[in-house]
Symmetry: C2
C-alpha cells in the first residue's frame, strides 16, 4: 500500500450498538481495501468515533456509504446527547498517515464533500486544512448552535455551505468534512506533586503562550502517583517533532530542579513520529523509514 | 498478519537472471501469503540472496518449492563462484521479525530440514540457534571444504547430517538450515581521519574483546569523507540495543576528543529496533509498538 490515509468519522449514535456496527460494516463493504481500526461509542455523548485506514479514493467510497447508512438510521430531530453535533454524521477528517500529503487529503475532503452534497442533498462545511476561510478552520465555530440552531444559522449568507443546499437536511443536518495532520496525545510525567511546575512548563512549550507552533499543553495532577504531568497535544509531529518537545520539557523541568520520570503516548501514533525520534538521537544521516522491514511489506500489500 | 518471519535463502546462481527469477517465483507461487522483499545477485560470487517475508508455515512451503526449483536448475558439479558454498541452495535462515520467537524459528528450521531430506534426499545441517551441537552453530565451520570436499567430509561420523542421507546429493550437495536473530548493519561515523580511534572504539564495544554480547565491530577508513567509521554488526538488537551501543561509541569517542558525526543503518531494519531507541530516549513508560498505526494495519492484513 503506497499511500495510507486515516479517516475518523464521528457518527451521532452511541447507544444502539447494532446500528453503529451496521454503519461501520456498510463503509468497509463499499471499499474492500479499507479497514476499520477502531470503533468507540459513548452512550452519554450518544456518539461513536470510527477510525478507518486505507488509500484515498477507497476511503471516499467508504465514507459515502457510511453517510448513506447513517442517514437511513439516525434522525437528529429526536437525537439527544452530551456532545455537540450538527449532523447524523457530524464530522469526517482525512489524516495523512504515510506517503500522503496534506494537499492530497484536502482534495479528498473536497471530493467527498461534493459527493455527499450531490448524492444526499446534505450541506457540507469544509474545515481545518480544507477550510475555505480562516473562520471555518475551527470545528467548534462551525458547530456552534448545533443541529437545533442550524436552520437559523444557515440563513446568514456567511454560513452558506461549501457544497450542497443552503438549508439543513431534515433528519441528517449537515456534515463537516476536512483534512488535518495526525494528532499525537503525548504526556510527560514529572517527579514532583507541584502542579505549578507542570503549568509553567506547559506554558513554555505551547503555541498559545510563545512555544512551539504545533503544541497545545496544560498541567495535570496525577493524584494516584503523587506526580504532575505536562499533558500535550502534538498537532503536527512533522513540523514540531516529539523529541524537540521532550527535550524542552526536560530542560525546563531541570530549571525547576525537577526530574522527568517518564513519558507516554496515548492512543495511536504514526510510525514516522517514533522513527524520527530514533533518527534524531542516533544522529542517523538519512531517514531510516524506507529501510524498515515492515514498511517493505506494507508497500506490497494492497 | 500476527506473525512475521524473514527467510533469506542463499542460492548458488548469480549469473543466469532468468533462473533466479524462476526460482523466486516458484517460492512465492507455492505460498500466496509470502512476499519477496529483495533479490540480489552477484555474478562473481555466482550466488543470489533472496529475502522473503511471511508467516512460518507458508515460508516452509515456499522454501520447499524454492529448493525443488533450484535442484532442477543448478548443478554444483559444474558451478564456479568466489563465494564458498555446500549446495545448490546453500543456506536458509529463519529470522523472527515481529510477533515470533527464536524458538518458533528453530522449530520451523527443523520442520523444513526434515521435509527437504524426505522430499529431495538432501542432507541437511542445522546451524546457529537450531544447531544440534556447539560445533555446528557456525556456518563457516559447516561449510568448510565446500561442495567439492563434502563427500569426503561426510564420511566422518562427526559430520552425519541432522536430516537425510550421509552422502551429498549428486548435483545439489547439502543445505544448511537454521534460525538466527535479525542482524542490523550499523555504522557510526567519527570526526577524525585517525583509524586508530575507530579501531579502539570497535574494540571497546565488540564481544570478542570485552564489549557487548551481540556486537561485532571494526574500524574502517572512509577515504572520500576524510573520516573513520566504527562498522558494527548487531546480531541481537533486543538484547544489545542500538541506543546502548551508540551511547557507548559516543562516550568512547569523547574520551579521544572526537565528535560523532552521524550514524547509518545499512539495509533493512525491524521497526522494533528503532521504536526501542525512541522509547529509550523519550523515556516512554511502556513499549509504544502496539500503538503504532501501521502495526494495526499489519495485524489486519492476511
Amino acid at each position: 500500500m503506497a499511500r495510507l490515509i486515516e479517516c475518523i468519522p464521528n457518527v451521532s449514535e452511541g447507544r444502539r450498538e447494532d446500528v453503529v456496527a451496521a454503519i461501520a460494516a456498510a463503509a468497509v463493504k463499499a471499499a474492500p481495501g479499507v479497514v476499520l481500526l477502531d470503533r468507540t461509542s459513548d452512550p452519554d455523548h450518544n456518539r461513536s468515533v470510527l477510525t478507518f485506514l486505507g488509500d484515498g479514493e477507497p476511503l471516499v467510497a467508504a465514507m459515502t456509504a457510511l453517510v448513506e447508512a447513517s442517514l437511513g438510521a439516525i434522525d437528529l430531530r429526536t437525537h439527544k446527547g452530551a456532545h455537540p453535533r450538527l449532523g447524523a454524521v457530524d464530522v469526517i477528517p482525512f489524516v495523512p498517515v504515510r506517503g500522503a500529503t496534506a494537499a492530497e487529503c484536502v482534495s479528498l475532503a473536497k471530493a467527498l464533500g461534493k459527493t455527499l452534497a450531490e448524492r444526499f442533498g446534505l450541506p457540507v462545511f469544509l474545515y481545518e486544512d480544507a477550510a475555505s476561510s480562516a473562520e471555518r478552520q475551527n470545528l467548534a465555530t462551525i458547530r456552534k448552535g448545533e443541529f437545533e440552531g442550524l436552520a437559523k444559522k444557515m440563513q446568514d449568507p456567511a454560513w452558506k455551505p461549501d457544497f450542497g443546499p443552503s438549508a439543513p437536511h431534515a433528519s441528517g443536518g449537515a456534515v463537516v468534512v476536512g483534512a488535518r495532520a495526525p494528532l499525537i496525545a503525548y504526556n510527560v510525567n514529572l517527579a514532583t506533586a507541584d502542579l505549578a511546575v507542570a503549568d509553567r512548563i506547559a506554558k513554555a512549550i505551547r503555541h498559545l503562550s510563545g512555544g512551539y507552533r504545533f503544541v497545545k499543553a496544560m498541567g495535570v495532577k496525577l493524584e494516584a502517583r503523587g506526580q504532575v504531568q505536562v499533558s500535550i497535544n502534538m498537532t503536527n509531529f512533522e513540523k514540531t517533532p516529539l523529541h524537540r518537545v521532550f527535550e524542552t520539557v526536560k530542560s525546563e523541568a531541570e530549571r525547576h530542579g525537577v526530574a522527568v520520570v517518564g513519558s507516554e503516548i496515548v492512543g495511536l501514533v504514526p510510525q514516522a513520529a517514533l522513527v524520527a525520534a530514533a533518527g534524531h538521537y542516533l544522529r542517523l544521516e538519512s531517514d531510516p523509514g524506507p529501510q524498515v522491514l515492515e514498511n517493505k511489506l506494507l508497500e506490497r500489500l494492497a
